[in-house]
Each structure stands twice: as structure tokens, then as C-alpha cells.
């Protein structure tokens, strides 16, 4: 188990290096001079040179890269080009918000998608199966931001069941905070619901016909127990890999959904950094976005290796 863990962690290091190199290179290609962006067009060459030195832009490119990378590893993400506040502080405010919405969204998608998939597989070929399959495909085909718009219009503005925008932080008022995160989370959950339902259905169908399930049934184990204890447990394993993969899409979706619902999360942070040409902020946030995805994938890999011993030893 320990070797598996160590190997898995080590193998994400080259990925992180590739990503930081790619982000840094793209950011070097940016048009314009950051000192002009900060000081304005009327800045004197002297004051620009002073600022360049203070920001470390006078150093060779590889030194700049290494000091930036070192900063990320030690939690120093640089300072915003716009208001000179530490990027790490803004991240500290936005990250819990996004984490909360992502977790609520993941909870919704698993608790809707997996039972639907089981139902579909058990009633294979029936009316419920057809209905659930069409629902799943629709959930995959609907644009998350349009689902958000519909929820906002019908559920928030017409019915008034949920707030249509803004956010309350969890530590200020947990209940109101959850209330605010439901609509964005549902909009983000639709695609994973569809994906999880189809995956669960497919792997349940595969497992239901396998020998050990037939044996269990022959032993006289009840139908519900066969489906839930024997079939589902094995059908859930591929779900974990999928959850990790879907997380990348979820982090992308956050950019649109944060903007739509005015949620002060990661997505709005990077989008407003883009709009304000705050490239220091963008550069660090881009790395953090993929770091979140990498860590989540690591966690799902580890957790499914706990479920399935075969993976640890292969």
C-alpha cells in the first residue's frame, strides 16, 4: 500500500512541472509590459526600471520561473497586479467557497446518478430504463450555464425557493450558506449525474451476469441483497476513476457558474483576474486549478485502491 501511495504521488510531480512550465511560457508570451499596466502610460523610464527590479522582471527568465515555482511550493503566490494584495489571501477566501459547491455538487450527482443507474440496470429494457437513459443523455447534453439560467429564472425568481445570486460564507451561517450553494451545485451536477448513471448502469449489467453474482443468487441470497451487496460494490469501482476525471470539467464549469450566480469562488477570481489583466493572479490561479484536479485524482485513485486490492499489487 505504501509503495503504491509513494509511486502515485511521485508520478504526479512531472505532471505538475509540465503544467507550471506551460503556464509560465504562455504568460511570457503576453503582449504588453506589466510595469506599464501598473504605472500607466505616463510612467517615466526610471520608475518603470525600479518597479521591474522590485518585481524581479530584470532577472533571467529561468531564474524568474524557479523563484515563481519556489513561491508556489511555499505558499507565496505573488501579489495582484491590480491592487497589490497577496494572491494567496484571495485564494484563501475563494477556495472554501468552491470546495463547498464542488462537494455539494458531487454529493448530488452521486446520490442521483448511482441509484438511477442501478434501477436502470435491474429493470433493463423496461420503461423505467428507457426513461432514465433519456434523462441521463439530456443531463449530459444540457449546457451547465443554461441549466443555471433556467434554475435561476424558474426556481429562484418565479418560485422564490432559493436566492438567485450571491453567497453567504459557511462559517457565518451554515444553513444559509448551503441554501445559496444548492442552485449552482445542481447546475454543475447535471453532467456528472448523466455520466455516473450511464457508468453505473453499464458496469452493473456487466457484473450482474458474472459468475459470483450467479453463485450468490443460487445460494438463495435475496434479489435486493444480490444487487446491492454483491453487484453494486464491484460496479462502483470504475465510478471512482470517473469521478476524478469529471472533476476537471467541474473546475472548468465553476468559471461559468460563479459568474452567472455571482458566487465569490475560484471561477470568479480567475475570470475577474482575466478581465482586469491581472496576469500574476492568473498565472498562479491556473496552476492552482490544475493542482486541485491532480490532488482530487490522487485521492480517488487511493480510495479505490482501498476498495479493490487488485489495483495495489498490479
Amino acid at each position: 500500500m505504501l509503495t503504491f501511495l509513494v509511486n502515485r504521488v511521485l508520478s504526479s510531480i512531472p505532471i505538475i512541472i509540465i503544467i507550471t512550465l506551460a503556464v509560465f511560457t504562455v504568460m511570457q508570451l503576453l503582449p504588453g509590459d506589466p510595469t506599464l499596466a501598473i504605472l500607466g502610460d505616463e510612467a517615466t523610464p526610471q520608475s518603470r526600471a525600479v518597479l521591474r527590479e522590485r518585481m524581479g522582471l530584470d532577472r533571467p527568465v529561468h531564474v524568474q520561473y524557479l523563484s515563481w515555482l519556489g513561491g508556489i511550493l511555499t505558499g507565496d503566490l505573488g501579489r495582484s497586479l491590480v491592487d497589490n494584495t497577496p494572491v494567496a489571501r484571495a485564494v484563501g477566501f475563494a477556495f472554501p467557497v468552491t470546495l463547498q459547491i464542488a462537494l455539494v455538487s458531487l454529493f448530488i450527482s452521486v446520490s442521483v446518478g448511482v441509484p438511477l443507474g442501478i434501477l436502470s440496470a435491474v429493470r433493463r429494457g423496461g420503461f423505467l430504463d428507457a426513461l432514465a437513459s433519456i434523462f441521463a443523455l439530456s443531463a449530459i447534453s444540457i449546457p451547465a450555464f443554461w441549466a443555471g439560467i433556467l434554475l435561476m429564472y424558474f426556481v429562484a425568481l418565479q418560485l422564490g425557493w432559493f436566492p438567485s445570486s450571491g453567497f453567504v460564507r459557511f462559517n457565518e451561517d451554515p444553513l444559509r450558506s448551503l441554501h445559496h450553494s444548492i442552485l449552482p451545485a445542481v447546475a454543475l451536477a447535471l453532467r456528472p449525474i448523466g455520466i455516473f448513471m450511464r457508468m453505473t448502469r453499464g458496469s452493473m449489467l456487466e457484473v450482474i451476469n458474472s459468475d459470483f453474482v450467479r453463485t450468490a443468487r443460487a445460494k438463495g441470497v435475496s434479489e435486493t441483497s444480490v444487487n446491492l451487496r454483491h453487484a453494486l460494490r464491484n460496479a462502483l469501482i470504475p465510478l471512482f476513476t470517473l469521478m476524478g476525471l469529471e472533476f476537471s470539467g467541474l473546475m472548468g464549469g465553476v468559471v461559468v457558474i460563479d459568474t452567472l450566480f455571482a458566487v465569490p469562488g475560484f471561477g470568479r477570481l480567475i475570470y475577474s483576474a482575466f478581465l482586469r489583466s491581472d496576469f500574476v493572479m492568473m498565472q498562479s490561479l491556473m496552476v492552482l486549478f490544475s493542482l486541485v484536479v491532480i490532488v482530487v485524482n490522487l485521492l480517488t485513485d487511493v480510495s479505490y485502491s482501498l476498495l479493490d486490492p487488485r489495483i495495489r499489487y498490479s
Partner: protein, 279 residues
């Protein structure tokens, strides 16, 4: 499998045929937009601002009095074109890389290409689009490029898996034994046998690419005004949600119908062409 048999099996699936009908209809709408649109989609009419749907304007008008139906008809062009071009970029990048990776194997496969692919997967497409938009400017070209790069890993992995399994097949070994070089074996023997699953993946990828394009246009990073597009109409629509809900409703319906059609088509193709997932 011959084309005729594929077509026959496909025609027996009602949902797949429904998908085909939707997709063909949308492509025709995009091609014949000038003939179909009742009004000029870009010409403002300040006497008809935010009109509700009526017999004159079937789906209503937008904030500068342009006919929404005409804008949606023209909007099909941007989204369908973006979906196809982005997937062509993804196929162009992904398929040769994946075939090479799987066929050649070794350190190139495991240490270089697979690690790069993992890195690409960890980078959300929308974030990549933000980076490219910052560097190259936010327009449909950078959006398509970002979506193309973002969709490439799926093709790399699929082509690699196909090459890995086909490499060991007897007919490929025979072709190799006859003295054919790696390039020829890959192009003549491996690629043609991987076409089915790649086609299925391409259809799913087009659906996802259209979703990504509309999301980027919604953020203002894709199609630029005054060119009509579904995503940017929704962006404007959210500002008038109470006064003019039709602006928030119909463009999304157009995206949803198109993407659902492509996914139905893709599911049908998968059932017919890809024996792996035949559950």
C-alpha cells in the same frame, strides 16, 4: 463491417435516427440561414426593442430590436463550425500522437506522451481558453484552439489503446513481417481498424465542443458581437431575465437540442460500431 450493414443496423434504432434527423436539420439550418432567416440578424431596429414573441417576431426581439429567430438561425453557423473545427484540431493532434505512442511504446509512450496527456487532462478547457485569450485575444479562433487542445487527450488515449491492441494482432504482425515500415503499418493497417471507435469519440467530442464554445461565448471569450451566436445571446439575455425571458430561454433550447441530437447520433454509432461497450 460494410457501410450498408452499419446503415441498416443504425436505421433500426429510433433514438439514433431521431439524433440523425436533428443533426441534419441543424446543419441545413446553418447552411441555408440566409434563405430561412426572416430578418437581417445584425441590423438593429430601435422601434422594436425587447418585443415579446408575436406573429411578427416569432421568438421576440433582443435589446437593440434584432429578431431573435433570425439570430438563432445564424447562430447555428458559429456553433456547428466551432464544434467541427475544434474536433478536427483534436483529431489532428491526438490521433497521430496516440497511434505513435501505442505502436512504438517504450519511454516515449510512458514517460513523455502519457505524462503530457495527464497534464492536459488536469487543465480545465475553460481555464486554458482564458490563458489563450489573455495571450492571443478573446475570439472564436482562440476558443476553437483551446477546445481542440482540451479535447485532444481523449483521442490520444483512444488511439493509443487501439494501437496497443492492434499491434499484437496477426494481420498487423504479418504486415510487419513482410518488411513494411512502422509508418506504413500504422497508416494502412492500424488506423483503418481503429476508425469505428474514433468516429464514435469524434461525435461525442463535437457535442462537448459545442457546449464548450457556447460557454466561452457566454463569458465573452468566443464569438464576438455583432456576429450572432447562441452563447453570447444568452449572455445578454441574463441581463434582461425579468423583462425578456425569451432571450434566456430559446438560445439555450437551440444548444440543448443540437447537442442532444449529436449525442443520440453518437450513442447509436457506438452501439453499431464499437463492440466494446455493447451492454
Amino acid at each position: 463491417m460494410t457501410f450498408r450493414r452499419v446503415a441498416k443496423q443504425f436505421a433500426r434504432r429510433p433514438l439514433a435516427m431521431l439524433g440523425l434527423v436533428i443533426v441534419v436539420a441543424m446543419v441545413l439550418v446553418a447552411i441555408f440561414a440566409p434563405q430561412l432567416a426572416p430578418y437581417d440578424p445584425t441590423k438593429p431596429d430601435f422601434t422594436a426593442i425587447l418585443q415579446a414573441p408575436s406573429s411578427k417576431y416569432l421568438l421576440g426581439t433582443d435589446e437593440v430590436g434584432r429578431d431573435l429567430l433570425s439570430r438563432l438561425i445564424y447562430g447555428a453557423r458559429a456553433s456547428i463550425r466551432a464544434g467541427i473545427i475544434a474536433v478536427l484540431i483534436a483529431v489532428g493532434l491526438g490521433v497521430p500522437t496516440g497511434l505513435l505512442s501505442g505502436y512504438v511504446g517504450g519511454w516515449l509512450d510512458r514517460l513523455v506522451i502519457m505524462r503530457l496527456t495527464d497534464a492536459m487532462i488536469a487543465f480545465p478547457t475553460i481555464v486554458l481558453a482564458l490563458a489563450l485569450a489573455a495571450a492571443l485575444g478573446g475570439n472564436l479562433t482562440t476558443a476553437m484552439l483551446a477546445i481542440g487542445i482540451g479535447s485532444a487527450p481523449a483521442f490520444i488515449r483512444l488511439a493509443r489503446a487501439q494501437a496497443l491492441s492492434l499491434r499484437e494482432q496477426e494481420f498487423v504482425e504479418a504486415a510487419r513481417a513482410l518488411g513494411n515500415g512502422a509508418n506504413k503499418v500504422m497508416l494502412r493497417h492500424v488506423l483503418p481498424n481503429a476508425v469505428g471507435p474514433l468516429l464514435v469519440q469524434a461525435s461525442i467530442a463535437i457535442a462537448a465542443a459545442i457546449l464548450a464554445e457556447t460557454a466561452l461565448s457566454f463569458l465573452g471569450l468566443g464569438v464576438q458581437p455583432p456576429t450572432p451566436s447562441w452563447g453570447s445571446t444568452l449572455r445578454i439575455g441574463t441581463g434582461y431575465m425579468q423583462q425578456a425571458p425569451w432571450l434566456s430561454l430559446y438560445p439555450g433550447l437551440a444548444i440543448f437540442a443540437t447537442v442532444l441530437g449529436i449525442n443520440l447520433l453518437g450513442d447509436g454509432l457506438r452501439d453499431v460500431l464499437d463492440p466494446r461497450d455493447r451492454a
